[in-house]
Symmetry: C2
């Protein structure tokens, strides 16, 4: 498997194309798959038009395909002229002992961090998303302008989007999330992942906790958008959006937290509000 992305799928949608690619990732030491939605060229502009990039980080158990199949995001992305990039959620095929025993840890559950424990040393999704993937896109897809980039995600991917944004304000122009894990040091999913990937020194964990990170910032002027379903089964035990809301208030960071009555944790919820999120990012990107 080469590092250069090989096209493994192509479907026209809303005038653009969903394409899937496979490549060898040196960061993760395994083959990885990602999807890109390329919007249609604007009729009013030249063929050299480049599209800004909006990264989508998926939640536990997902691959690069869930968002592409279920979110309906391509309609508005096509209209706004934004490319969508959906990576996978962890290394795969490394055969680390126990990597597939839980749905909330290991394969499909990379938590978008760089693991430091010896056993999980290849779980470096943070570097894959922040460093390897943008370089790969920039070098291989001339129609993408990776200098104009934003990031969003769902659940574990909402955690990834928020933490990556806060640690790289120079690289991403806006952030949003659906039902994100915002305070992983204080929830069971986060504690399981952080202790295994980072070891038992809790102070290190805070580097990957959006609620801890936000307290370091009082210079964020662009509002953070979060939608959260009130009937989400994970709301009270895992997601804890009000912890993040309080931290944003303390740090004077503008947050639009929309509690959505009746909505659950599924892609039906995501699809219902995806247009608002694409528009939120279009304001920063286009």
């Amino acid at each position: 498997m080469e590092e250069t992305p090989m096209e493994i799928g192509s479907n026209k949608m809303f005038g653009g194309y969903n394409k899937r690619y496979k490549h060898y990732s040196p960061t993760l030491a395994c083959a990885m798959t990602f999807s890109v939605f390329f919007p249609p060229p604007s009729s009013s502009s030249s063929s050299s038009q480049k599209f800004p990039v909006l990264y989508w980080l998926s939640g536990l158990t997902c691959t690069d395909e869930n968002f592409i199949i279920k979110s309906g995001a391509q309609r508005m992305a096509a209209a706004k002229g934004i490319a969508l990039v959906a990576p996978d959620t962890s290394p795969r095929g490394l055969n680390v002992e126990g990597e597939s025993e839980s749905w909330d840890f290991g394969v499909g559950a990379g938590f978008y961090l760089n693991a430091t424990t010896e056993k999980w040393k290849n779980w470096r999704m943070y570097d894959y998303i922040v460093k390897e993937l943008p370089t790969l896109l920039s070098e291989n897809f001339e129609q993408l302008d990776t200098t104009r980039a934003s990031i969003f995600g769902h659940s574990m991917g909402g955690h990834g989007a928020l933490t990556i944004y806060l640690k790289n304000l120079d690289k991403y122009k806006s952030v949003s999330a659906f039902a994100p894990i915002v305070n992983p040091i204080n929830c069971p999913w986060g504690q399981k992942a952080l202790s295994n990937y980072l070891g038992t020194n809790n102070s290190v964990w805070e580097e990957y906790d959006a609620t801890c990170l936000i307290s370091k910032f009082n210079n964020i002027s662009a509002p953070i958008l979060i939608d959260q379903g009130e009937d989400d089964n994970f709301l009270k035990n895992q997601l804890l959006p009000h912890k993040f809301e309080a931290a944003c208030k303390d740090a004077s960071v503008p947050l639009i937290l929309r509690m959505q009555p009746g909505y659950d944790h599924s892609y039906y919820f995501i699809a219902s509000f995806i247009d608002d999120h694409i528009s939120h990012h279009a304001n920063a990107l286009v």
Copy 2:
């Protein structure tokens, strides 16, 4: 299993709800599952408002869920105040010998007809869709007005929608299809299904062939809408839209056949044009 539908799933979407139901079908002599999208109540009308019904018939291998998960139809259905009803594609669990040996015949491939051969006598999807299901909906869901109904579908389901519409002009106000099988007596999928389900008397087959049926009508004033991807792998061997186009012309039946360059047979194609189809039906229903 009772004949009264039992709710087995509920997810809020675009202000309405996707709900799944299971019930015993006397027509098919097995348990069946179907999905309904109920749009949100209009804020301007009273709570006694009833929604017209738009039936979606799926293609080979599908269940009631593919359309609900992948089409994105709920956004426009919610806006127009139309309920979407997505049934399954065949009886299941009857354990007829060979029923699961092919992906294009048997389970998942009911072809929306009433079988006459002894072996497949329970394959009566035509009666299930035209008779049992509307009665079931009318008796169990007071928010649905099944007297205002239209029908559409994809591939095998496009065949189902067109034939059922033409045989029941009093029951359905409009029809449309994505990449429909329009001339099954002249394509391999159709010949395999029709010979097994109906026996070898080809004249009976014509009762379930849209291109044959259309020649009997010259009093259809509402246009039939069909979208067809030009890069659909099944276009030339199975779907044959130009046969139907010629028959419509001969019968002076208004047909809007839109050949869509670059699109394939997938739900990405369907999602790209679903809004136009919902609007087409809304003109007849709302």
